[in-house]
Amino acid sequence: MHIYLPIAEMSVNIFLILGMGGAVGFLSGLFGVGGGFLMTPLLIFIGVPPPVAVGTEANQIVASSVSGVLAHWRRANVDFKMGFVLLLGGFVGSSLGVILFKYLQNLGQLDLVIKLSYVIFLGIIGFLMLWESSRTIIRSRSAAARRGKLHQHNWLHGLPFKIRFRKSKLYISAILPFLIGAIVGVLSAIMGVGGGFIMVPAMIYLLGMPTSLAIGTSLFQIIFVTANVTFLQALTVQTVDILLAVLLLTGAVIGAQFGSKYSVRMKGEQLRALLALLVLGVCVKMIFDLTVMPADLYSIALLMG
């Protein structure tokens, strides 16, 4: 059964889109990530124009983050104060990102920057997560885990504007979460992702937040950042396809619920290792796209009029 997407201006199979939403939703529920880094490349792969894929995916992530954050809120896993600081950075970053997006599109280098961003960020994050989680798995098998400090102290703790985040049991400079929020905001606008896969590790490893709190808080701030991206993309380039978003989110919210139920049965480090492999998989695919000689060296961009 086909449906014509009014903004993407193409017809797609409803069940293909629902299925993609469901599959990515399941993984996002399982790993506690938005799944944008999987969905946006998938949408582009089935022929949705990249700008529409990015704008629409941002809209869909709003929905999955709302549904996710409510579950975490009930378990008191959201540090609103931290979320607010991240959010301030996120607004600045995503607004800059939307401007950058349009600029790159005019230059004809948008695809390249999207793919390079995927390679760089997925590569770094995937590698770090795999390294950390496999170390944890090995250590937990060899001996009883050593109990260390809550987190390591380093030069980052010497920065000014220190704020006490009671919920996260942290006393750190507000500059750090603001910067993390801003960087992820830029990526959110360019890559069509929520940025959870960068935000959560950054919060755990750079800020020293507990994992469960990091996931809940990142979901909270992703809602607002992706809502900002949705609004700005709709306003400036009109690339948000509501119909496509609704189809995707229907599949995704259902998939996510099953995913999160399933995730309870698995250990944190195992989940992180699996997610790391998934992230590295997408990264390798992008490296392949960039370095293998394309079937057609020419690409065409059509503008009306």
Binding site: Q60, A63, S67, G108, T230, I242, D296
Partner: protein, 252 residues
């Protein structure tokens, strides 16, 4: 749909017979199975039949041209192991859709110059005149133009080799074009040329409008005309759906 094609086809037959032998050597009459293609939310593309009557010995060429667009064609080059868009060429005023059908190969119907003059065949539509700036790009024009035609062809938007025209009886002809689901909306022009002994004897044209209808059309209009409100609505829908999903699944 089929019924309306049939009706129109029958009308054309009746006209043919009414004109009778007296009409020999006169008019080229054409029509199409539809004058309005409606792109609804279930649109998956459609076939449009163009038919008409001509003189006995006429050679017929049918051309359908879509609304004009600007195409930017970019060529990738390898820079330190990565394929990057480098050179570009901008084509202005080119058709977003181009389809052609003929009774015989074009070069048998008429001279190259005449094809050029009448802009028949995609190579006579996209010329160096379509370039936005006339500079050293002329050298690379052919490879970029070929890439453009190739790209549009794979999307089903261009035809470079003419389709066949069915000559039903001596004077009645018909041919069917496919309008794919990714076609742009706007006015499409059907031009039918009749040639005799390599000379153009007659040309008739008609328009076919392709427009979005139903919810899809409303959504498109809303997104373009009230972008801010559209953006807010998109967010609202997402928030409400997320919330509903969370409530439903908590109960289960």
């Amino acid at each position: 749909m089929n019924r309306s094609i049939f009706t129109k086809f029958s009308i054309a037959l009746i006209i043919l017979f009414l004109l009778g032998p007296h009409a020999y050597g006169t008019a080229l009459i054409i029509d199409s199975s539809t004058s309005e293609v409606k792109v609804s939310s279930s649109f998956i593309g459609t076939d449009v039949m163009v038919f008409g009557t001509a003189n006995d010995k006429d050679d017929i060429i049918v051309v359908i041209t879509g609304p004009t667009e600007t195409a930017i064609v970019r060529k990738k080059r390898r820079v330190s192991g990565i394929w990057i868009n480098k050179e570009k060429l901008e084509f202005r005023g080119i058709p977003g859709f181009y389809a052609i059908a003929s009774t015989r190969p074009l070069n048998e119907i008429t001279e190259t110059n005449e094809l050029k003059k009448q802009k028949i065949g995609i190579q006579n539509v996209i010329t160096t005149a379509s370039l936005s700036s006339e500079d050293e790009n002329i050298k690379t024009f052919k490879s970029f133009k070929d890439a453009l035609v190739r790209g549009q062809k794979t999307k089903g938007l261009y035809l470079d080799t003419p389709l066949e025209i069915d000559v039903v009886s001596k004077r009645l002809f018909k041919t069917t074009f496919h309008f794919p689901n990714n076609m742009a909306t706007g006015i499409y022009t059907v031009k039918v040329f009749a040639f005799q002994k390599k000379r153009l004897v007659s040309m008739v044209s008609k328009n076919i409008s392709v427009e979005k209808i139903g919810i899809g059309a409303d959504v498109f209009k809303f997104a373009k005309e009230q972008s801010a409100l559209y953006g807010l609505l998109a967010i609202l829908i997402a928030v409400v759906s997320g919330w509903i999903a969370s409530v439903i699944f908590r109960k289960i």
